[in-house]
């Protein structure tokens, strides 16, 4: 009898102990795994799962396993809203990482102050953190940082007149606004402002017009394939005016598409693509190289800055959980805001009450394309 009671008691204790140990730290994510933005979302999802496994292999957070609830918004704003609702109401997660696109983030971010749960966005739009929303953070650098980096370089070169050529989609329009604000603000004259369509296959007319305006340098803002056509047309027209591209083309694909005409083009790029060229003292270098090889081994594909946003999002939340010693949403939020000098993939993050992006123009490195590869510009 006594033995039986003891064994029941022991079983109960074991069960309770297991259920205690199994109580996971629940983190949600809204990612565009499929749909038009899947080229951003897929590496993000891969990275998030990779980091979760890594955390769990090391014993999880606060001695508890990490559970990641990832919903695919299919690059659809409405589905992102539903996913956010589910994470907050049904899954009761401690924090959410996402969404992938700026449109989706802007659509879901107002739910978070009401639910008192922190959101760490992986998309770029400046509006996400400006004005600051106490519950919303962002790990992707803003266009402002990239433009600032280009213009700093142009200043050092002594350029005075700048012409801009932007694509007429969301990315280009956002870039154009920042360019039109910062170019005069940083002491340059804006001599020409041309636009091209995202599906255009010939930009010689725009470039000829720019040529007539005789700028010292041209800044082109777009994502593939438009900038590749611009580069090709520039070479075709025999133009020697220095051409800056945006960080939107910092991928191998651009060099492949633009071919020889990519030679000598300059752009601001995250440290990831030039990790091996960084000095050893650079705080991100070791983890950039580690992430690159880890991702390549696991997914047999190239790393991208977008996967890096996933890395930054989850690692920052993990760090906040650890420093707070709790997975209460409010505690995570407070701890996030106090993170300083945290080396990530996108840059070195220092959040404050007023800055929920935590990055500056140093998140970008100016690179030049030489011999079909990226070279850091001194």
């Amino acid at each position: 009898m006594m033995l039986r009671l003891l064994s029941v008691f022991a079983a109960l204790v074991l069960w309770a102990g297991q259920s205690l140990a199994a109580e996971p730290v629940k983190i949600g994510a809204v990612v565009s795994v499929t749909g038009p933005a899947s080229f951003l979302g897929e590496p993000e999802k891969n990275t998030l799962e990779m980091i979760r496994d890594e955390l769990n292999a090391k014993g999880g957070l606060l001695g508890r396993p990490v559970e990641l609830v990832i919903y695919d918004d299919e690059s659809d704003v409405n589905k992102a809203v539903l996913a956010a609702e589910k994470l907050l109401k049904k899954d009761q997660v401690a924090a959410v990482i996402g969404a992938t696109t700026s449109g989706s983030t802007l659509a879901i971010m107002n739910k978070f102050p009401a639910a008192q749960v922190p959101l760490v966005s992986m998309s770029a739009a400046e509006k996400i953190v400006n004005p600051v929303n106490p519950w919303v953070f962002k790990v992707a650098p803003s266009d402002r940082h990239a433009v600032g980096r280009i213009l700093k370089h142009a200043q050092a070169k002594g350029y005075k007149k700048i012409a801009i050529l932007t694509v007429s989609d969301g990315f280009g329009q956002a870039g154009r606004e920042v360019l039109k604000e910062l170019v005069p603000a940083m002491g340059f004259t804006l001599t020409a402002d041309e636009v091209y369509g995202p599906k255009d296959t010939d930009m010689t007319a725009q470039l000829t017009k720019l040529k007539d305006a005789a700028p010292d340098a041209i800044i082109c803002w777009g994502t593939n394939p438009g900038p590749a056509v611009v580069a090709r047309n520039r070479a075709q027209l025999g133009m020697k005016t220095p051409l800056y591209m945006s960080h939107g083309v910092a991928s191998r694909k651009f060099i492949e598409l633009a071919g020889e005409s990519a030679e000598g083009l300059m752009l601001p790029a995250g440290h990831l693509i030039v990790a091996s060229q960084l000095p050893d003292s650079q705080p991100q270098k070791a983890l950039l190289l580690a992430y690159t090889s880890q991702y390549k081994d696991k997914f047999k594909g190239d790393v991208s800055p977008f996967g890096g946003h996933g890395w930054d999002g989850l690692k920052l939340v993990a760090k906040a959980v650890e420093t707070a010693g709790s997975d209460k949403p409010a505690a995570i939020r407070d701890a996030l805001e106090k993170i300083t000098a945290f080396p990530g993939i996108g840059g070195v993050f220092s959040f404050t009450e007023k800055d929920h992006n935590g990055l500056d123009a140093n998140a970008f490195e100016m690179v030049v394309i030489q011999g079909g590869d990226w070279k850091i510009l001194k």
């Binding site: 296959t201 010939d202 010689t204 007319a205 000829t208 056509v229 090709r232 071919g259 020889e260």
Partner: protein, 291 residues
């Protein structure tokens, strides 16, 4: 102000040649079957994409292009035999809707097989620009214009000198009479689909070194090609080619002299204005005769 004019003209002619080649394909099928084939832009896309894929697989450039063109022509024939013919005699509008379905199917298939990336082909003879009248010209632009003219001349010969060409014209004029004279109208319809696949694919393959290609380039090309067709006068192959060139030049001048933000709008505004004045198009006859 007018310093850029020669450059705008050259750029416009190169882009216009694409529209012209797409428009030619439209007229081929319209002339024998009375169908507007909205998968025409996808033929152009297939020509470019297949050439890229074959070239990446290791085929020399000329071989890759010839294979790509042959396969696309075959796809054209298969579409007629497999989809259009079984539907049989029905209102042309039903067939037009079928071609829209085919275009979506082709686009989807290419996206699933080769992905959503953009691809490039190397130019046929280097990329060092030539200076003509103060304008910089890519050697590839000359290839495009030369091959377009060559195709036009070949088509002219085909329709006036060969029995198949004449048979196709006969089907266009009066299908019943042509059938009574022993011409297989079905065969001619298949031939016209094959021919328009051929024309589209050549266009796609020779333009890819300049314009790059991806699974969805056919949408805009189809639209512009159709506009070029209407501009030149529906059913007139030479009008279609000329319509394409005019459309390209208009766009280029519009972007250069007015504003690049409204580039796509100019061509369509001019097209609408023209249709109010001359509904048969620039080179369309006064009657609604289709030849």
């Amino acid at each position: 102000m007018f310093a850029g004019a020669p450059q705008y003209l050259i750029s416009g002619l190169t882009v216009g040649a694409t529209y012209g080649l797409t428009a030619l394909g439209f007229t081929m099928i319209f002339n024998t079957t009375g169908i507007i084939n909205f998968a025409q832009g996808e033929f152009v896309m297939l020509g470019g994409m297949l050439a890229v894929v074959l070239q990446k697989a290791g085929a020399p450039l000329p071989v890759a292009i010839m294979l790509a063109v042959a396969v696309t022509a075959l796809v054209g024939c298969l579409i007629e035999r497999g989809v259009i013919r079984p539907v049989g005699r029905t209102a042309p509008v039903n067939l037009v809707i079928i071609t829209i379905g085919i275009s979506i199917l082709l686009r989807g298939a290419v996206m699933l097989i080769w992905g959503k990336d953009t691809f490039a082909l190397p130019p046929f003879s280097g990329s060092a620009p030539l200076a003509i009248l103060g304008a910089a010209v890519q050697p590839q632009s000359l290839w495009v214009l030369f091959i377009t003219l060559l195709l036009l001349a070949a088509l002219k010969l085909f329709f006036s000198r060969t029995i198949h060409g004449k048979a196709m014209l006969a089907c266009a004029c009066e299908q019943k009479a042509a059938a009574l004279m022993g011409i297989s109208v079905d065969r001619m319809a298949m031939l016209s689909f094959g021919l328009s696949g051929f024309l589209g694919a050549v266009g796609g393959a020779i333009l890819t070194p300049i314009t790059l290609t991806s699974y969805d380039v056919g949408v805009m090309l189809g639209l512009k090609g159709f506009a070029a067709c209407i501009l030149g006068g529906l059913g007139n192959p030479f009008g279609a080619a000329a319509g394409g060139l005019i459309l390209g030049v208009l766009e280029s001048f519009g972007a250069g002299f007015v504003s690049s933000a409204y580039k796509d709008a100019f061509a369509f505004i001019v097209l609408l204005a023209l249709l109010f004045v001359k509904p048969t198009g620039l080179f369309g006859g006064p009657k609604s005769d289709r030849v």
